[in-house]
């Protein structure tokens, strides 16, 4: 009560006019308006799992794009000598991811590898953990860490004269011993007459080393009385190994040129210009797995993204027409969709392969098969959105103002379904990649000869090597699993992000 009287008693001069000169107008909003996509992005950012998976997808995408460009191994690179070598992160790696594996080997193999190390200096036995007696207590078993690159050792090569001369020139220039003396075929163990690594005297057929009294290997190098190298044609004039008195023979002439014995690790370096090092190892036929997987991934990505884009366009148009016009047209189109979606995809893919693979190629026919039924899901969501929005007042207003059907459909109603379309398009990608891998794994889609590979092809190649070389299966399997998990997480995040009813729910 007292307040009221006080207010009533305020003297007149204490009042002053506000805004006497100014005109009244609305105050501009201080905050920036948040649009639909901005809002969605804000919501997406809060979903940690989705953000992480988006980053991983980006990373895998970059791997698929960049690796084939910068990989030192071309798409056609095959190295039969280095088949199923183990993953090696860098040429000098030691200890972990170093292309070596713990194995148990017998006595003669142990000799074989030590002799290899003694001759070329590349020791396949990274580490010897210990020895044990074999089960029959007759021989020793060595528990060793075996380098899968060095254990290839020496190989015989038939070189043409110019290739032979180029190799000799390389040897002289770089002072690297690549060619080693030829061995006497008659002195190699009878079970391994074609093995270039027996440069030492052996006894028995199994290749047990026959050492001298001091426990040293006794070499079985070929000798040439003339002290030359390759017969009488031209003298071998290059590096010689230690202990060579000038009579060792380094090459044997044959019909096309020379047969030589080279240390394969060094020969690989000579041919390719870098040391062999396969980050994911190699496949059963000696293909670089790191590059092959990237090429397979690139193929999968390109296929999936194109399918997703085409589906989006067809689905949007089909769904828009269906949903907008409704009635009999909708009924007919729905029947059509029902029939199409009743066809199991595998039958569709097979029929397309039967009919089109010879005419337009394997990959386009696979793409057609995916596109033929893939848009159904998108069309369904667009149709639902159209049914929801086509009777709203703003559409009526636009129609009253004279907007044509096409404008109403794509300008006024369609943007409402953009979020759901984007989400379903993203979720199409893992589906396509998974199905494509399955089809190529089952060999229903045979990519051989189409110049590309696929994750599924690598998986089926790796399956047979599961027990001996699990890495050939492991990397493609991990890649596929990771990709699928991330895409699904990412898609779910997008779905939540594009759902405006979730606005503010996480705050």
């Amino acid at each position: 009560m007292t307040n009221k009287t006080e207010i009533g008693n305020i003297p007149k001069e204490k009042f002053e006019f506000a805004q006497r000169e100014e005109t009244l107008h609305d105050v501009k909003l201080d905050t920036k308006p948040i649009g639909y996509f901005r809002d969605a992005f804000n919501r997406f950012k809060r979903n940690k799992g989705s953000v992480v998976s988006a980053i991983i997808i980006l990373f895998l995408l970059l791997y698929a794009i960049i690796t084939p460009i910068f990989s030192p191994y071309s798409a056609t690179f095959l190295d039969g000598y280095y088949s199923t070598v183990l993953p090696k992160i860098s040429a000098k790696a030691n200890g972990f991811w170093d292309g070596a594996r713990r194995e148990k080997i017998g006595e003669s193999r142990y000799d074989y590898y030590t002799a290899m190390a003694q001759e070329s200096g590349y020791n396949p036995l990274r580490k010897v953990y210990g020895t044990a007696l074999s089960e029959d207590r007759q021989s020793t078993v060595y528990d060793v860490k075996l380098d899968s690159y060095y254990k290839v050792g020496c190989q015989f090569f038939d070189l043409k004269p110019d290739a032979y001369n180029a190799l000799i020139e390389y040897q002289n220039k770089n002072n690297i011993q690549v060619i080693y003396p030829m061995t006497d075929a008659s002195k190699r163990p009878s079970a391994f007459t074609n093995d270039a690594n027996y440069w030492y005297r052996t006894s028995g057929t199994k290749g047990k080393a026959d050492k001298d009294a001091n426990g040293n290997f006794v070499n079985i190098y070929m000798r040439d009385a003339s002290g030359g190298g390759a017969g009488d044609i031209d003298k071998y004039d290059s590096l010689r190994i230690d202990g060579d008195d000038g009579t060792y023979q380094y090459a044997v002439p044959n019909q096309t040129g020379y047969r030589v014995r080279v240390c394969y690790y060094k020969y690989f370096e000579y041919v390719n210009g870098f040391e062999p090092c396969f980050v994911f190892g190699t496949t059963g036929n000696g293909q670089d797995l790191f590059g092959a997987l990237a090429r397979g991934a690139r193929f999968s990505f390109i296929l999936a993204i194109s399918v997703s884009l085409i589906n989006m366009i067809i689905g949007a148009i089909f769904g828009a027409i269906e949903g907008y016009y409704g009635g009999a047209l909708d009924l007919i189109m729905e029947r059509f969709v029902e029939i199409l979606s009743g066809v199991p995809f595998i039958i569709l893919a097979t029929l397309f392969q039967f009919h089109l693979a010879n005419k337009v190629g394997v990959v386009p026919s696979l793409l057609f098969a995916f596109v033929l039924t893939g848009w159904i899901g998108t069309a369904g969501t667009v149709r639902t959105q159209f049914y929801r929005f086509k009777h709203q007042e703003y559409v009526l207003a636009a129609r009253t103002l004279g907007a044509k059907d096409a404008r109403l459909m794509f300008r006024h109603i369609f943007p409402n379904s953009l979020g759901t379309i984007i989400t379903s398009s993203v979720l199409v990608i893992p589906g396509v990649i998974g199905t494509e891998s399955m089809l190529s794994y089952l060999n229903i889609v045979n990519l051989e000869g189409s110049g590309t590979t696929s994750v599924g092809t690598l998986l089926s190649a790796g399956q047979g090597l599961m027990t001996t070389d699990p890495h050939v299966l492991l990397f493609p399997a991990i890649f596929l699993a990771l990709l699928m998990i991330c895409f699904n997480l990412f898609g779910n995040g997008l779905r939540d992000a594009f759902n405006p009813s979730l606005r503010g729910s996480g705050e």
Binding site: E338, I339, G342, V343, P344, I346, I347, T350, L351, F354, H355, P430, G434, S437, M438, Y441, L442, N443, I444, L459, Q463, M466, T467, P470, L473, A477, L480, A481, M484, I485, F487, N488, L489
Partner: protein
């Protein structure tokens, strides 16, 4: 009566769809060049006679008429040409069906209880760590293609731990214990996906039901949380779950192409893949019909069972 009409309508529509798909499939297959005949003159004569009977040099639609007559009246799907030469396609198919059904049945019996139990557990512990663990596991299992964890199962259980044989036993003694034992890796690989799907579905349904107002009423009238969940929430949540399980039961016939291939199960899947690889069109037709039918039947059974279980949907069908 309303329900009966609805069911009949759905079945007729399904048969129409099936017929159209099969017609298209038949025409597409007949447009392909014929496969080479086997070397053996006796077999060659049999196959030629059979082709003559099926009218292989007549117009395609006439051939289709003959094909339909043979199938509908005599249940005759032709004989194997490039594989199982000279033998009836139907007989071979009947031989291959038992292992497929058996493996999928075992897998379903194994995964349905686990899936539902995990789903209930996750829903009751919603937003607690247990729920997060289950949901993450489900996320991973649903995303990863089944053949990837088939490899994992094979590598870990069969190779590293040496618990199970690598592939299923040979022979046809499907019900023997040792056969069951050798089937376990395949059953496990098949089950992961089903368990994950069912868990996710159950959790979603149950969390929705648990927030319903009648749950509040049930608690208000004095039921404990457990009683309310079992008597009211679970019952209602089962409405959509049950049709899904019924649908699963139908689709077990279809089996899994990849899993059967990996574990060497002599089932329908490998037969189909073989038919595709050696291009035996008679087998291809029969198996395509089989897979299409299974797919359509699963969908329709799900739809109809919804109507039976939930009267609200039945009412809606009148529109």
């Amino acid at each position: 009566m309303e329900m009966f009409k609805y069911v009949v309508k759905r079945i007729l529509l399904m048969l129409l769809t099936f017929f159209i798909i099969m017609t298209l499939c038949f025409i597409l297959v007949k447009l392909l060049p014929l496969t080479n005949l086997p070397q053996d003159p006796a077999l060659r004569d049999i196959i030629l006679a059979r082709r003559e009977l099926m009218g292989y040099n007549k117009p395609i639609l006439v051939q289709y008429g003959i094909f339909l007559r043979q199938v509908l009246l005599h249940w005759d799907w032709g004989i194997g040409e490039t594989m199982y030469s000279g033998r009836e396609v139907v007989d071979i198919f009947a031989e291959k069906l038992p292992p497929t059904i058996l493996i999928n049945l075992y897998s379903l019996l194994f995964s349905v209880p686990i899936g539902i139990a995990l789903g209930i557990f996750a829903a009751l512990k919603k937003n607690k760590w247990q729920d997060h663990v289950v949901s993450t596991a489900v996320m991973i299992l649903v995303s990863v293609p089944s053949f990837v964890y088939a490899f994992l199962v094979q590598y870990v259980l069969s190779f590293q731990l040496n618990l199970f044989p690598f592939q299923i036993n040979s022979g046809t003694n499907w019900l023997s214990p040792s056969m069951f034992f050798s089937m376990i890796p395949a059953i496990l690989s098949l089950s992961f996906g089903v368990i994950a799907g069912l868990t996710r579905f159950t959790r979603a349904e149950l969390t929705e039901v648990l927030t319903g107002e009648y749950m509040l009423l049930a608690r208000a009238k004095g039921l404990t949380k457990g009683q309310a969940t079992v008597r009211h929430a679970l019952r209602n949540a089962m409405v959509p779950i049950l049709p899904m399980i019924i649908g699963q039961f139908i689709s077990i016939l279809g089996g899994s192409l990849v899993i059967e291939q990996i574990f060497g199960i002599p089932g329908v899947g490998p037969l189909y893949i073989q038919a595709i690889n050696v291009r035996d069109y008679n087998f291809f037709m029969m198996l395509s019909a089989f897979y299409t039918f299974i797919g359509l039947a699963a969908t329709i059974v799900i739809d109809i069972s919804y109507g039976f279980i939930d009267p609200r949907i039945r009412m809606g069908s009148r529109k």
